[in-house]
């Protein structure tokens, strides 16, 4: 090595040290994979949700016989209704995401639907006008909200069953729905029997979720917070089907013409208005309101407004009472 080379090498080394430059390694772009986000709280259940317990009570849909329906100004002193009237408004637990039953009208920001019309009838019976305060509840929040007294009544596509009757009281049946399946029209599925190994969406805590393993033991249940989250997941190809009451499915189908409601009725789903225990006066009062809707046409009006265009003709369900 001659002197010039040595010098060059030393200078080169010094230059490198001083400037801190090195040769960059070539980096090939790592293979990237899109991660489609999930709705908040969505969960693929690896274990089957608790199967609905066999009806452990006789005739769960039999509610208390309707009481008298006094004028709003003549509510019995000390009654639950009088207390609600004193408060200034009826606090109702509802849904904001179930099209046709309880949903937010995006144009005016108001919550509307069949359940809201029912709530207005109850409030009008207490105040003479629909003085409502709506509280949005997810399926799971319904019973805790009643127990804590946060809401006076829950009118939110809530199916009457024995398990729930241990925690709350129900009014008489105000609507009778049937559990079915919503799939994409392109899927060629025409019933829950063809969904083995497929993902089926339902809201956490709903009877629909619990019914899935019973009717399709090999399907994978996916739970979400709200029914519209199921439609989001269906549109994002994260689930293959949504299974719940035809009323709710009709509301989802109305938002996406590439979907359809298929299959026979899996379960009857009698809807009741839920009221905290030990307010039997209020249960009888509400049942009287439901009876009144049968005669004054309020139920038929609400049905015609919200459901008739999608579910065809129907009449208010017949009810029976236990005493």
């Amino acid at each position: 090595m001659n002197r010039r080379n040595v010098l060059a090498a030393v200078l080169g080394t010094v230059l490198l040290l001083v400037t801190g430059c090195g040769t960059d390694e070539a980096v090939a772009p790592a293979p990237a994979k899109a991660q489609v986000p999930l709705p908040a709280g969505a969960k693929v259940l690896t274990e089957a949700p608790e199967a609905p317990p066999a009806q452990s009570c006789a005739n769960p849909t039999y509610s208390l016989r309707p009481g008298p329906l006094p004028a709003p100004t003549a509510l019995p002193a000390g009654s639950t209704m009088a207390k609600i009237r004193a408060k200034g408004h009826l606090v109702v637990g509802v849904d904001q995401n179930t099209n046709l039953f309880g949903f937010r009208n995006a144009t005016n920001g108001e919550i509307e639907g069949f359940d809201i019309d029912m709530a207005k009838q109850v409030a009008t019976a207490i105040f003479g006008s629909p003085k409502l305060q709506l509280r949005i509840l997810t399926s799971q929040q319904r019973i805790p909200a009643l127990k804590s007294g946060e809401v006076d009544i829950v009118i939110r596509t809530m199916t009457i069953n024995c398990e729930r009757l241990e925690d709350v009281d129900f009014s008489s049946v105000y609507y009778l729905a049937h559990q079915k399946v919503l799939v994409k029209t392109s899927s060629e599925v025409d019933g829950i029997g063809q969904l083995d190994g497929k993902r089926i969406c339902a809201t956490a805590g709903s009877t629909s979720l619990a019914n899935i393993p019973k009717r399709a033991p090999k399907a994978v249940p996916v739970q979400v917070a709200d029914w519209t989250d199921c439609l989001v997941m269906l549109q994002q190809n994260q689930v293959d089907a949504v299974s719940t009451d035809d009323t709710i499915l009709a509301g989802l189908q109305a938002q996406d013409p590439s979907t359809e409601v298929v299959g026979d009725s899996l379960e009857d789903e009698p809807y009741g208005m839920a009221i905290a225990k030990e307010h039997t006066d209020f249960v009888r009062f509400v049942n009287a309101v439901i009876e009144q809707m049968r005669t004054d046409g309020a139920w038929a009006d609400a049905y015609k407004t919200w459901l008739a265009p999608r579910l065809g003709k129907a009449t208010q369900p017949k009810v029976e009472y236990k005493d």
């Binding site: 400037t19 099209n99 519209t228 938002q255």
Partner: protein, 450 residues
């Protein structure tokens, strides 16, 4: 001139076997000219090493300063911008959603600008990193660049559905907000923490006492002094001009480095005290204000089941303004900043915050009392006294305070850069002078043997 007596060069003939360079050197070392030659080579080597190591030390400092000015400093600003833009975009999008079909053109423009700003700042942040940093699966930059488009896609889907009055729009909006709050904002916060950590690291690198350079310089000086002592003993000369020049160069180099570095230290300390510490305090307050605004809007979007958001709002509000409205992060920022101008801005923010908190109380009263529409109105419209306007006041006051604090930071860093300019070159030139002086000085002595 009499040369001192030396042993005659007879070794070669006496031991011919281990012939080689080592033997030759060994022999050379026994003669005074030989010793002098080795001394010259040694001094040149020491000069070069002192020059190189001192230059490296100063260059490291200078690089740290450059980073502060052009990399970590601006990147911490970019990271903060990303957080702010994303957080504001989400609050605006949910606010517009609350307004239903009457989403105003202003709100839409604000959302789009926020996204554009976030993408521009993100591009800056990505460009400053090695590709591997960006592609690492859990890196905040991978999350941000990968999922921001998912977020905007969801918001547009929500908007399209909302326009058609479809309830599924709200579900898409919630999914978007959830993505923002659980993935994008935490990634932005992580990025910000990394970048401010980098700023602090660069400040340490740029501002510390130059122990290493001083040590190297002193070693160089010691060797030079030692060489002169040796020469004086062995050659009976008191002064050697060449070596004196070399020693002078070494002293100047050492003093230059020490003085320049102390100047840099002062500026860097100032950049921390007047700049980055205040930026940090202000940025924390701003992030809290943005979070409070998101919570306020989402509480209403959740309509009745927003208790978790409201609870979060209360916690964030306490953190931002303290229990009594005159504490928390705003108070801390107020006490931290040094210029009266910036303190005035923070006071503006404190005033607007107190008013916003009052409006929020009204909003909750309306909502809890069942007047949802009035609550929404006060939140997203409400004119100059509404929550939207109050939030904007807080945000823009803090924005101004941040901009001017950032300017102080930049000024100090620029001054520090000036203080150190030319030092590397000077140190190298002085090292060359040191080497040259040593060679000339020894050559003077060596000549006497010819």
């Amino acid at each position: 001139v009499s040369a001192p007596a030396v042993s005659p060069p007879t070794a070669r003939t006496e031991s011919p076997k281990p012939a080689g360079r080592f033997t030759e050197l060994n022999e050379l070392a026994r003669t005074t000219p030989g010793v002098l030659t080795i001394l010259a080579v040694g001094l040149v080597l020491v000069s070069v090493l002192v020059g190189v190591f001192t230059a490296i030390g100063v260059q490291t400092r200078s690089t740290a300063l450059d980073d502060l000015a052009t990399s970590s400093g601006p990147l911490s600003v970019a990271a903060q911008d990303i957080y702010r833009s994303l957080s504001d975009a989400d609050a605006t999008a949910t606010g517009a959603f609350l307004a239903g079909g009457e989403e105003s053109a202003d709100q839409r423009a604000r959302y789009l600008n926020d996204i554009a700003q976030a993408q521009a700042s993100l591009a800056v942040a990505v460009a400053a990193r090695e590709p591997a940093d960006v592609t690492a699966p859990d890196s905040p930059l991978a999350t941000l660049s990968g999922k921001l488009s998912s977020y905007t896609g969801l918001v547009e889907t929500a908007r399209a559905n909302n326009r058609q009055n479809l309830a599924v729009g709200a579900a898409y909006q919630r999914e978007a907000s959830n993505l923002m709050r659980t993935e994008l904002l935490p990634a932005a916060q992580k990025l910000y923490a990394t970048e401010t950590g980098q700023v602090a690291g660069d400040q340490v690198d740029a501002g510390g006492f130059p122990w290493f350079e001083v040590l190297v310089g002193l070693i160089g000086l010691a060797v030079l002094v030692g060489a002169q002592v040796y020469l004086r003993r062995n050659t009976n000369r008191v002064f050697n001009v060449g070596l004196l020049v070399a020693t002078g160069a070494a002293v100047v180099s050492l003093l230059w480095v020490v003085i320049a570095t102390l100047g840099v230290s002062t500026n860097v300390d100032q950049s921390r005290e007047l700049g980055s510490a205040d930026v940090e305090a202000l940025a924390q307050a701003r992030i809290a204000a943005l979070t409070a605004r998101s919570d306020e809007t989402l509480t209403l979007v959740a309509r009745g089941s927003g208790a978790a958001f409201e609870k979060h709002y209360v916690a964030v509000a306490d953190r931002l303004g303290g229990q009594d409205g005159d504490g928390g992060l705003l108070r801390a920022a107020h006490d931290s900043v040094d210029s009266d101008d910036v303190r005035g801005k923070v006071e503006d923010a404190q005033r607007a915050w107190t008013q916003w908190r009052d409006v929020h109380g009204d909003i909750r009263e309306h909502d809890d009392g069942g007047d949802y529409k009035a609550a929404v109105d006060l939140t997203i419209h409400g004119g100059e006294t509404g929550a939207a306007a109050r939030f904007d006041e807080v945000d823009s006051a803090l924005q101004d305070a941040l901009a001017s604090t950032q300017q102080s930071f930049n000024d100090e860093v620029t001054q520090a850069s000036h203080a150190i300019t030319g030092t590397v070159l000077g140190v190298i030139v002085l090292a060359v002078l040191m080497a040259a002086g040593s060679v000339v000085g020894i050559w003077q002595r060596l000549k006497e043997y010819r």
